[in-house]
């Protein structure tokens, strides 16, 4: 008459526990366990341009994929570490791209000046225009960031400035294919590991506090709005770099820099990859962007597919791929009797 049932139990691997402390360097096994996944990503991404010598068309895709990955890291950082849902990644891309175009075409700065300058000034500009809604909580930030890309493209269209609907053409291109590819790949890796480092520092702790309990941050004598502006500035740096890079890559800055793709793909990638992991954002992009190349035939139906994936993940599998993989890597499961 005994009801025998079993349930699953998850236990950390011994290796994982050992590598958390000083024993991490006790043997090559531990070292490999720790740096294996990281090295896999870094070397894998760095080798991509060389491997894709076989398929030149996909080299372009890698560039765009890395831009999206940088944007997705920015989105993940803002949404899951600071609590600001930015529905308009296109704003960063557009501002960065147009600034780079202005600097390069109108003021004839060389590309190695126009990209960094566009990044920094673009980020400052984005921070200033987003600033009004930062003291507010809730849906306001999402609403305003959703509006801004549309507002900018409407203003450019209505005033017919900056090339109007034709955009600014004739930017310098980057010298050589390998410069093109390694610039964005290295920036992506720097952004990824830099952000991972940043969020584990004191600043990261404060930012997470802003998300979880802003009153306590305020009670500690820290200016919440200033911290939020700092976070937006950091995210905008990444986004504006992406925009400036794309403008130079296509040798053109136009209204499509404010397009919906730049807003929705990073969000979908983050939700799919696993929010709050930062690497998940990159993995999500590495799945979604090539997928979108395959689906090019379907036109705007791609966006429908993203949205279905996005809704599916958000409703049914909100932890995302990365968290799942991490769990499998660090823990094992077994059935135990209850």
């Amino acid at each position: 008459m005994t009801v025998e049932t079993t349930r699953k139990e998850r236990i950390d691997r011994g290796l994982k526990v050992r590598t958390e402390g000083i024993y991490a360097i006790s043997s090559f096994e531990e070292i490999a366990y720790l740096i294996g996944p990281r090295l896999l990503l870094i070397v894998g991404v760095l080798l991509l341009p060389l491997v894709l010598e076989l398929a030149p068309y996909w080299k372009r895709v890698v560039n765009i994929m890395c831009v999206y990955a940088v944007l997705a890291i920015a989105f993940d950082f803002l949404a899951n570490y600071v609590g600001l849902v930015c529905l308009g990644g296109a704003l960063f891309i557009g501002v960065g791209g147009y600034l780079a175009a202005i600097l390069n075409v109108y003021l004839s700065f060389p590309f190695y000046l126009s990209i960094p300058l566009a990044t920094v000034f673009g980020a400052a500009l984005c921070t200033v225009i987003i600033m009004p809604c930062l003291p507010l909580r809730g849906v306001y930030f999402a609403i305003v960031t959703l509006m801004y890309p549309i507002l900018f493209s409407r203003i450019i269209e209505a005033l017919n400035i900056l090339g109007g609907t034709n955009g600014i053409t004739g930017l310098d291109n980057l010298p050589g294919e390998y410069v093109e590819q390694y610039t964005i790949i290295i920036v992506m890796l720097l952004a990824l590991f830099g952000m991972r480092r940043l969020v584990s520092q004191d600043v990261g702790l404060v930012l997470r506090g802003v998300k979880d309990n802003d009153q306590s941050i305020r009670a500690s004598g820290i200016n919440v709005t200033a911290m939020k502006s700092l976070a937006v500035f950091i995210a905008a740096l990444m986004g504006c770099f992406g925009g400036a890079y794309i403008a130079h890559l296509y040798m053109w800055a136009g209204l499509s820099l404010f397009a919906l793709d730049f807003s929705i793909i990073p969000i979908a990638a983050v939700v799919m990859g696993g929010g709050g992991t930062l690497i998940g954002a990159v993995i999500g992009c590495f799945i979604l962007v090539p997928l979108s190349e395959f689906l090019r035939f379907f036109g705007t139906f791609r966006i429908v597919i993203y949205c279905i994936i996005l809704t599916g993940f958000i409703v049914f599998k909100s932890e995302g791929i990365m968290v799942y993989l991490q769990r499998k890597y660090h823990q094992f499961e077994r059935l135990v009797k209850v």
Partner: protein, 288 residues
């Protein structure tokens, strides 16, 4: 004179567009970013019923509105209910649903030829020396009737009182036996129905184009932010403010700036009075 007449009409149009969004947000605290998609979806459904199924216009309109509110209820029942209360997921989820509907329509249905709905009664008349067609007069009448109807519904009927109870204090309302999920479902159904109603009234004035979906969402959000999210009277006052501001810019500058006015109004409001004109209820909570 023209400015006054068309200002009033435009304001009522805006109020009709944003009423559904305001209602859903004030009751269930779900920012329904799929609102614009539901609007354009309703227009497409009515067009299908009218042209593909060959139903009479008078029958396809109520059917279209019903279908839209059913879609809204289904969206709540199967998707939003699972992510309710998680703000980030709510925003992304509803936005994704809206995008899926709009881009799906762009891909599948609404491209190539132009889609139009016929006006209810053709022709026009003179009001105060300004020529106004009958459709716009119907819009104004229907808009006013909707406001009065909703007002009476929420003040007098049992369901309406339950909705208001949840909107004011969810926990207390739940203690009195009001089902929070049920009211949210009803609010989403009514909100979507209102989007459909607005679509049926307004789409005969122009073509059914997918970009309308985004514009409607922006207008609805603009009106609601300026009037104060969750405030009824604020919604109506704000739609009059934006409505007249838009007509003024259209006559003084050019029609390209109509959208810019709405967007700038949001930003200025957030700067000066973040809780909107009448949004007193959550003022303290929303400020950090």
């Amino acid at each position: 004179m023209e400015i006054i007449v068309y200002g009033i009409i435009n304001s009522i149009v805006l109020a009709l567009l944003s009423l559904g969004f305001a209602l859903v947000y004030s009751i269930s605290r779900v920012p329904n970013f799929a609102h614009g998609a539901l609007y354009i979806g309703a227009g497409y459904i009515v067009w299908l019923l009218l042209n593909a199924a060959g139903l009479p216009y008078a029958l396809s309109i109520p059917l279209g509105i019903l279908a839209t509110s059913l879609i809204g209820a289904l969206i709540y029942r199967f998707i939003i209910i699972r992510i309710r209360g998680m703000e980030i997921s709510e925003i992304i989820g509803t936005y994704a649903i809206g995008l899926a509907i709009i881009e799906g329509l762009r891909w599948g249905g609404l491209r190539g030829m132009t889609y139009t709905l016929p006006v209810f009664i053709a022709g026009s008349t003179d009001i105060l020396g300004v020529t106004v067609d009958y459709q716009r007069i119907i819009i104004v009448a229907a808009g006013v009737l909707t406001f009065v109807g909703l007002f009476l519904f929420t003040k007098l009927s049992r369901v309406g009182l339950a909705l208001r109870g949840i909107a004011q204090d969810e926990r207390a309302a739940m203690m009195l036996g009001i089902d929070s999920d049920m009211t949210a479902l009803i609010s989403l159904a009514i909100g979507s129905g209102l989007a459909g109603f607005a679509a049926v009234l307004l789409l005969p004035l122009g073509n059914i184009v997918v970009e309308q979906g985004y514009n409607v969402l922006i207008f609805a959000v603009a009106v609601c932010v300026i009037g104060g999210l969750g405030s009824w009277s604020g919604t109506i006052v704000a739609s009059f403010i934006i409505g007249f501001a838009q007509i003024l810019t259209e006559t003084c500058l050019s029609s390209n700036f109509v959208m810019v006015v709405a967007l700038l109004a949001i930003i200025v409001t957030l700067l000066v009075r973040p809780s909107g004109i009448f949004g007193k209820q959550k003022q303290l909570e929303e400020r950090v």
